[in-house]
């Protein structure tokens, strides 16, 4: 099977694709078990959009509890029923369940599967000039594993004893002991199996991306002529391959502790009146393993968004991206450093303080390549002629959130300062802005920019504008006030802050004020997403037909026909003669020169 597939691709790569002729594809092989990277990318996108909606609704539910604790709400009854919201008031356990599943879905299913799954699939072959991924079959498998794990994760929500409730980081012993919290029963088992399958999906996908980037570049597409999107996807895939297996081992050991009575993470525990015999395990071991993935994961989420925005900003500024090689260098530096910083999540776990100091040093180093990226973006738009498409607005919004969320990381990376703000809302604000919002903005930017390529239709620009402005106002309105709640020392994952009444009523008053502001903005932002969903689905079916190269872009994907064909290019594969950022090059007639145009006489490559 593998050999046959290999031969077929080898054949195609030589440009004789058309000789085969097309046989009509059935509905199933075209839309469901498709091996075409474009369709798989769209499948990832659809699944992720659905998961994202679910996770967003979950967040609104617990935000209602936080803003108006103990008050009855019809919305809660509507979604959760009498079991989990008796009388319209959220149950304590379910609050933790909502928080946990919200976090898990957003981090893994929307921002990992959705972002890198969608855009790596669609763009890697198209921007490299390849007929398809190295292995179409594995690619299909990657999606279906993703789909299966999505189903398992959602089913965790419907278990009688409740979904996983130990936070998205599922620290044992809490996640290992059903006696400690009800969600650590079947809900947690489903969570673990879902993640194990998700990791398999991610691994298969990432290996495929790496092989494709290394082997299937078209003639002339040297590594240093690849668009930054591809560099970002490439490094992301490498990070995934190296770090996800560690999460798998963490999850497997946890499964063993739960089901086989081992003591990897358990020691000297009495829970629910029962004295356990487990001895010698360490809960800290789980945290090391978890964050060995967990921190690269942040960049697995972020790098594709940065790659997409590099492309969007350069195209719509009508200027080359400033410092192309420095951008590649910073992606590589971020990728490398992301592996040696995980300990900054663990400064106050009782880890040796000296080890903490090492992680302070490595973590703060990441600020340097990040600063390089920001200043390069700023220099790219400087003296450009900015075309403010919705995609461009989202890309600029990403730069803003990347800065705003990034600078607070400097506080958190500093172990001494982390003592007072660790696990408070300051952290929640930080990572939601820098990772959540930046990645979501990158994803929206990507959808608006490449929608014509994905569906052959145009999205409505006006609705796009309205969507952007509601989203950015909502994003800052939700996450900015959280910093102040965190500076006041409010712990995260608290069901009800009225406990502050017992010792600091002034702080309580401030927290309630801010929590209400946050919730109102969250609801506005969530409703704003209806505009996007409407625009997205309406345009798929009824949007105006896309022109060949709507944004006057240089990259190869815009040389393929608007109507998708299997193999991407009907004739021979294009040949690349230049880097992808020749915008507004002096001496050229147009303000863009596609990569397929040979260098003119005496023209120098950038």
């Amino acid at each position: 099977m593998a050999a046959v597939a290999h031969e077929a691709h080898g054949h195609e790569a030589h440009g004789h694709h058309d000789d085969h002729g097309h046989h009509e594809e059935s509905f199933v092989s075209k839309y469901i078990f498709s091996q075409d990277h474009k369709m798989i990318g769209k499948q990832f996108l659809m699944t992720a959009v659905f998961m994202g909606i679910v996770a967003m609704i979950l967040s609104i539910l617990f935000r209602i509890q936080l803003a108006w604790p103990g008050e009855s709400s019809d919305v809660l009854t509507f979604f959760l029923g009498e079991t989990w919201a008796p009388g319209g008031v959220l149950k304590e356990d379910m609050y933790l369940g909502l928080v946990t599943i919200h976090g898990t879905i957003m981090v893994f299913f929307l921002l990992t599967g959705g972002l890198s799954g969608t855009f790596s699939n669609i763009l890697i072959p198209l921007q490299l000039g390849a007929r398809d991924m190295a292995s179409g079959f594995l690619n299909m498998l990657s999606y279906w594993f993703f789909f299966l794990s999505s189903i398992l994760m959602l089913s965790s929500l419907f278990v009688e004893s409740g979904p996983a409730m130990a936070g998205w980081t599922v620290y044992p012993p809490l996640s290992a002991l059903p006696q400690a919290v009800s969600g650590s029963g079947l809900g947690m088992t489903l969570w673990l199996f879902s993640m194990a399958i998700f990791i398999a999906s991610s691994l298969i996908g990432s290996l495929n991306y790496i092989v494709t980037v290394l082997n299937l570049r078209t003639k002339g597409m040297s590594m240093t002529r690849m668009p930054l999107t591809i560099w970002a996807f490439f490094v992301t895939a490498i990070l995934g391959v190296l770090s996800f297996p560690v999460l798998l081992s963490a999850a497997l050991l946890l499964i063993m502790d739960r089901l086989a009575g081992t003591s990897f993470y358990l020691s000297d525990i009495i829970v629910g009146g029962e004295m356990l015999t487990n001895h010698g395990g360490s809960p800290i071991l789980f945290q090391h393993l978890f964050w060995f993935l967990g921190h690269p994961e942040v960049y697995i989420v972020l790098l594709p968004a940065l790659g997409l925005s590099s492309e969007i900003i350069s195209t719509n500024s009508r200027k080359p991206i400033f410092g192309y090689r420095a951008m590649i260098g910073s992606i590589l530096a971020i990728g490398f450093l992301s592996f040696i910083v995980w300990g900054h999540h663990m400064f106050i776990t009782g880890m040796n303080p000296f080890l903490g100091s090492v992680f302070v040093f490595t973590t703060l180093l990441i600020a340097i390549p990040s600063a390089v990226k920001v200043f390069n973006y700023l220099t790219t738009i400087w003296r450009g002629t900015l075309v403010l498409t919705p995609a461009m607005l989202f890309a600029l919004g990403l730069v803003s959130t990347f800065i705003t969320g990034g600078v607070t990381g400097i506080i958190l990376a500093d172990s001494a300062l982390d003592i007072a703000v660790h696990d408070t809302y300051f952290v929640v604000a930080h990572f939601h802005i820098v990772m959540g919002m930046s990645a979501v903005f990158g994803m929206f930017g990507g959808v608006y920019h490449w929608f014509p390529k994905m569906y052959g239709k145009m999205m409505n620009t006006r609705l796009g504008y309205a969507h952007f402005w509601i989203t950015i106002v909502g994003a800052y309105g939700v996450f900015f006030p959280m910093h102040f709640v965190g500076i006041a020392g409010a712990p995260r994952r608290y069901y009800d802050y009225t406990v502050y009444n017992d010792f600091d009523s002034n702080a309580l008053e401030m927290m309630m004020d801010l929590n209400q502001i946050v919730t109102v903005f969250a609801i506005i932002a969530a409703l704003g997403q209806i505009l996007f969903l409407f625009n997205f689905f309406y345009s798929i079916f009824r949007g105006p037909k896309a022109p060949q190269n709507p944004w006057n872009s240089n990259t190869l994907e815009w040389t393929t026909p608007v109507e998708h064909v299997h193999g991407n290019w009907p004739g021979e594969l294009p040949t690349v003669h230049r880097w992808p950022y020749d915008y507004s090059k002096p001496g050229a007639e147009e303000d863009f020169i596609p990569q397929t145009v040979p260098l003119a006489d005496g023209e120098e490559e950038h």
């Binding site: 304590e92 009782g350 003296r383 105006p544």
Partner: protein, 412 residues
């Protein structure tokens, strides 16, 4: 039900209205022969202006939040190292706020200023190594300062505590805290979780507690003998699941009792004194102002985190290991109430690691007393050391172990 129906109707009508609007917009675009990909100068300028307006409004919001809420709730640091950390926190805040304003302003102003204007061509500027060097070296230099200052404070905050530091243990379980003072010898008694009994909740290790743990496991109401006799009793019919459960329970207890017997053999009686003079304290943690404290943290079940927000102190409590944190309270509760302008203010120890449903309620009041009051309180507690409480409970086993009501009323 009616309201739900109306809500649904509004949503459906809203979507239909949106679809119609889009339709009209598309027709008008078609009439003007303009595709969605062509962004009109009007749209460009509108969004460019909105960028600038958004920047100004969000800065205004930022400044408003800082002025109105700023450091409310945080208050002055009430510990020695906390003052140092706050100074560093504020310094870092100033640096990052400056960077935040500088870069965001550049971003939004550029977005406004360089929006596409008819006839203007973009400036082809692919790279400049000097600039790259500039924004590599400058952040690196600033970060070097941040790292050096940060590590200096970190090393001081996490250094070994001084010999005269008062040792206090904080024991965490779902969902409360118990404190244990080290008593006159300033040494905390040893412990082992297997010794946990109703009259020895902190599982302190002495010859007597080991013996009674073995006894309870052997002869107690759910002890080995009781289980065995139930399993072997022909007159009792057991559901297979129950039998399995009891057998598992039995084998668990047999393993534990073997370990307890080993412990008894190895036990060195001379360390018992360390435990006997310890003082167990619930509800409120009393501290003496200007004294060094070393806190040892333990957990009975899952990970918790001991978070003293006002002392800028935090450490996780991890089952199976002891963690430590030291600090020196510098402001009494009374003085802090004046500073916070709140008669009812109290210091608090909160749980800051998700630990189950009632996680948010897991807290303990902390009261910092002037030395004279603290001494008086301590004297009163010395009459009910662990030894006193333990033997009182053995003599009258039914009696609930509870610390005598505190004579001081500062906490209220």
């Amino acid at each position: 039900m009616g309201s739900k129906l109306i809500f649904l109707l509004v949503v459906v009508l809203g979507v239909v209205a949106l679809a119609q609007l889009v339709r009209v917009y598309e027709l008008s675009s078609k009439l003007r022969n303009r595709g969605e990909h062509e962004i009109s100068t009007r749209d460009n300028n509108l969004n460019a202006r909105l960028m600038l307006i958004f920047m100004i409004l969000s800065y205004a919001g930022f400044i408003y939040l800082v002025l109105k809420y700023g450091w409310t709730g945080r208050g002055d640091a009430a510990s020695e190292h906390g003052r140092d950390l706050d100074w560093l926190f504020n310094l870092n805040m100033i640096i990052i706020t400056a960077v935040f304003f500088l870069t965001n302003t550049l971003l939004f102003v550029f977005s406004y200023k360089y929006v596409k204007k008819p006839g203007v061509k973009a400036f082809y500027y692919p790279h400049n190594n000097k600039l790259e060097m500039l924004w590599t070296v400058v952040p690196a230099a600033v970060l070097a300062i941040i790292i050096i200052l940060g590590l200096k404070s970190w090393n001081e905050a996490t250094a070994e505590s001084s010999d005269d530091a008062i040792r206090v243990e904080l024991f965490s379980k779902q969902f409360d805290w118990t404190a244990r003072y080290s008593g006159t010898d300033n040494k905390l008694g040893r412990f082992d979780y297997k010794l946990t009994l109703d009259n020895n909740e902190l599982a302190l290790m002495t010859k007597e507690t080991i013996d009674s743990a073995i006894n309870a496991m052997e002869n107690g109401p759910t002890g080995i003998k009781a289980i065995e006799s139930k399993l072997n009793d022909n007159n009792i019919m057991l559901v297979p699941e129950d039998r399995e459960k009891m057998e598992a329970d039995l084998s668990r207890k047999e393993r534990l009792i073997r370990l307890l017997c080993q412990m008894r053999e190895r036990h060195d009686k001379t360390i018992d004194a360390m435990a006997w003079d310890d003082i167990i304290q619930k509800d409120t943690l009393y501290l003496c102002v200007n004294k060094n404290y070393e806190f040892n943290f333990r957990s009975k079940d899952v990970i918790h985190s001991a978070f003293f927000p006002h002392f800028r102190a935090q450490m996780n409590t991890v089952p199976g290991m002891t963690t430590r944190f030291k600090f020196k309270p510098e402001i009494t509760t009374k003085d802090m109430r004046v500073k916070m302008n709140n008669e009812k203010f109290n210091y608090v120890l909160m749980c800051n690691k998700i630990c189950g449903g009632a996680h948010y309620k897991m807290k303990m009041m902390v009261v910092v007393l002037p030395e004279s009051e603290y001494k008086a309180w301590m004297e009163s507690k010395k009459k009910s050391t662990f030894k006193d409480q333990y033997f009182a409970s053995v003599a009258a086993p039914v009696m609930e172990v509870a610390a005598p009501a505190d004579t001081l009323v500062v906490a209220q």
